[in-house]
């Protein structure tokens, strides 16, 4: 707790020294004809830890961070969870900011398991949604967020990314940030501030 408070304090000090920044829109790609195609993060439907439906309606006019995780993850998820808990604490009074964490192990991560996991963060349920969805939905959002994951060790573990995506109020991706790297987390918080103000 002390270490976390110290880190948040260091991040805040860094933020106070940093000017506002430009953030390129990254929810676009170059198609096979060489043309740039823009898209938004939409058309998804998941259940959260309270068994409530979460869709793009919940993210409308909100800045949010999205990542992929699973509750049994022994490697990078606990560190990602600590980083996101710090961020959620920092923005706990900002209604326009939320976090979406998509479980890549929906068979195991049932709603009650997600609820227990959410409770362990101490963050209000409507600030940080832990999401369960079917394979099609999961593949759809993985594609939108430019990530992938594959089962390891017969499905006990998964190879997945430590990067989270930052999405603006127009449902467009504005950056990818490594939740295992303090410097990247600092930059993520600078970017969140920028998007909340603009």
């Amino acid at each position: 707790m002390l270490i976390r408070s110290f880190l948040i304090c260091m991040v805040s000090l860094n933020l106070s020294c940093t000017s506002k920044t430009q953030l390129p829109v990254l929810s676009n790609y170059i198609d096979n004809n060489g043309k740039k195609v823009n898209y938004r993060i939409e058309n998804f439907e998941f259940k959260n830890q309270l068994n409530l439906k979460v869709t793009e309606k919940n993210t409308k006019e909100k800045v949010y961070v999205a990542n992929f995780f699973f509750t049994r993850c022994p490697s990078i998820c606990p560190k990602m969870k600590t980083a996101l808990t710090g961020i959620a604490h920092t923005y706990k009074d900002i209604d326009d900011f939320i976090i979406l964490s998509f479980s890549i192990d929906p068979k195991n991560d049932s709603v009650p398991i997600l609820e227990a996991y959410a409770n362990s963060t101490g963050i209000p349920h409507l600030k940080w949604h832990f999401l369960n969805g079917n394979k099609n939905q999961l593949d759809h959002v993985a594609k939108l967020f430019r990530t992938s994951f594959e089962p390891l060790n017969y499905g006990i573990d998964f190879y997945h990314s430590s990067f989270a995506a930052l999405v603006d109020k127009n449902q467009e991706i504005r950056g990818f940030y490594n939740l295992l790297d303090q410097q990247s987390i600092t930059k993520l918080m600078e970017a969140i501030d920028f998007l909340l103000d603009n």
Partner: protein, 381 residues
């Protein structure tokens, strides 16, 4: 009176925290001491903590923060600095990286020995890089390392006409780390200058891929004293937390291990690491080795052909690498998905103590898929 008591309590708490901190610090490894020390020196601005970035029409130059050398720092132990950077956030134009260089200098801006460079790594952000080109099947397939320059190979240029495509507003991540095998009696600061050459002229795209030696180890034999009591082509790892891997047989392997005095030969099958899906043409290899490496080879076991044979030159009068030649070929050599490939490393530890070793190759293949994408992109933009 109450103020006096509060004052005393605060001093006692500070002394306890300070003493605990000092005990904690002195129990850290050399590597972790360097991390803590560098972060504190930079955070409190005791030494220059800023990266400087200069963009010209041919290159981007990054000057690292100051890094304090106050001890012997073997490979992977020295003070280091990290940064996320863009070439030009306001310019989404397509460019091509063509060459890379790292050099060490003192605070008076004078170039000093490259003995103070451990490595300089640049990573791309794969979600962003592959995402922009809609090459989603490449995401999470390998570590997103673009290039690594290290002691003995401090600059490289891709063959004429080849480059790595990127957008001006694309983000990259750089790490640069110091090294000091020899200077024990001085405390001084160094900076690293990193230069990345680029062009807007259309080139043939290269695709990076990393392969590295991994050697099995016995979890019950981790002490230096065990080094004469291990199986051939196995190792004692430097650490088990990082650079530790598992293969399909359930063996534990290390990518950073200890080498005994005298000559040793290590081999590692890298066919799985390569995971070639198609026949690819290899144009560039940049090796990464530690002192006391003597020869590093990439061999096609199917044809018995040696694709790259790196004869290393070590310093004569001190620890360090003078030269680890790269492979660079405009014509390239073919590598096949149904062939078996192996890395062979010969080490000759001429010191009187156990040393550490890593051995990687950063390969660049012609990227046929990207060539079509960049051609189509440039046709409509």
């Amino acid at each position: 009176m109450a103020l006096k008591t509060w004052y005393k309590t605060a001093i006692i708490i500070l002394i306890v925290i300070g003493t605990g901190g000092i005990i904690y610090y002195f129990n850290l490894s050399n590597r972790h001491k360097a991390i803590v020390k560098t972060q504190l020196l930079h955070f409190f601005n005791v030494i220059d903590s800023d990266w400087d970035q200069t963009l010209s029409d041919k290159s981007l130059t990054l000057e690292s923060p100051a890094l304090l050398i106050d001890n012997i720092y073997k490979s992977m132990e020295g003070p280091k600095a990290l940064e996320y950077f863009y070439f030009d956030k306001s310019n989404p134009q397509l460019f091509w990286m063509t060459n890379f260089k790292v050099s060490a200098k003192n605070l008076a801006n004078k170039t000093i020995s490259n003995d103070f460079i451990c490595h300089m790594n640049i990573n791309y952000i794969e979600q962003e890089h592959h995402g922009r080109w809609h090459l989603l099947d490449r995401i999470n397939m390998q570590f997103p390392r673009l290039i690594s320059l290290s002691h003995g190979v401090e600059s490289i240029s891709f063959p004429d006409g080849f480059g790595f495509p990127f957008f001006g507003d694309e983000q990259f991540f750089i790490t640069t780390e110091t090294l000091n095998h020899n200077v024990k009696d001085s405390i001084f600061q160094v900076k690293h200058d990193i230069s990345i050459g680029y062009t807007a002229k259309k080139l043939k795209p290269l695709m990076p891929r990393t392969i590295f030696m991994q050697l099995p180890f016995d979890i019950n034999k981790l002490d230096d004293a065990d080094i004469n009591d291990i199986e051939p082509n196995s190792c004692i790892p430097v650490e088990t937390k990082n650079l530790t891997y598992f293969n399909k047989k359930g063996q534990i392997l290390s990518g950073h291990w200890k080498i005994n005095k005298g000559k040793q030969v290590f081999t590692c099958n890298v066919t799985k690491q390569l995971s070639l899906k198609d026949t690819l043409r290899l144009h560039q290899i940049t090796p990464h080795l530690h002192p006391f490496a003597e020869q590093f080879t990439l061999k096609d076991l199917t044809t018995n052909e040696i694709l790259y044979n790196c004869i290393v030159t070590n310093h004569r009068n001190r620890v360090g690498l003078s030269d680890t030649p790269v492979f660079s070929s405009k014509e390239g050599v073919l590598m096949f998905p149904d062939h078996i490939y192996e890395l062979i490393l010969t080490t000759n530890n001429t010191s009187d103590e156990i040393q550490d070793m890593m051995a990687s190759m950063f390969l660049f293949f012609y990227d046929k898929e990207m060539a079509v994408k960049t051609k189509n992109y440039l046709n409509v933009n």
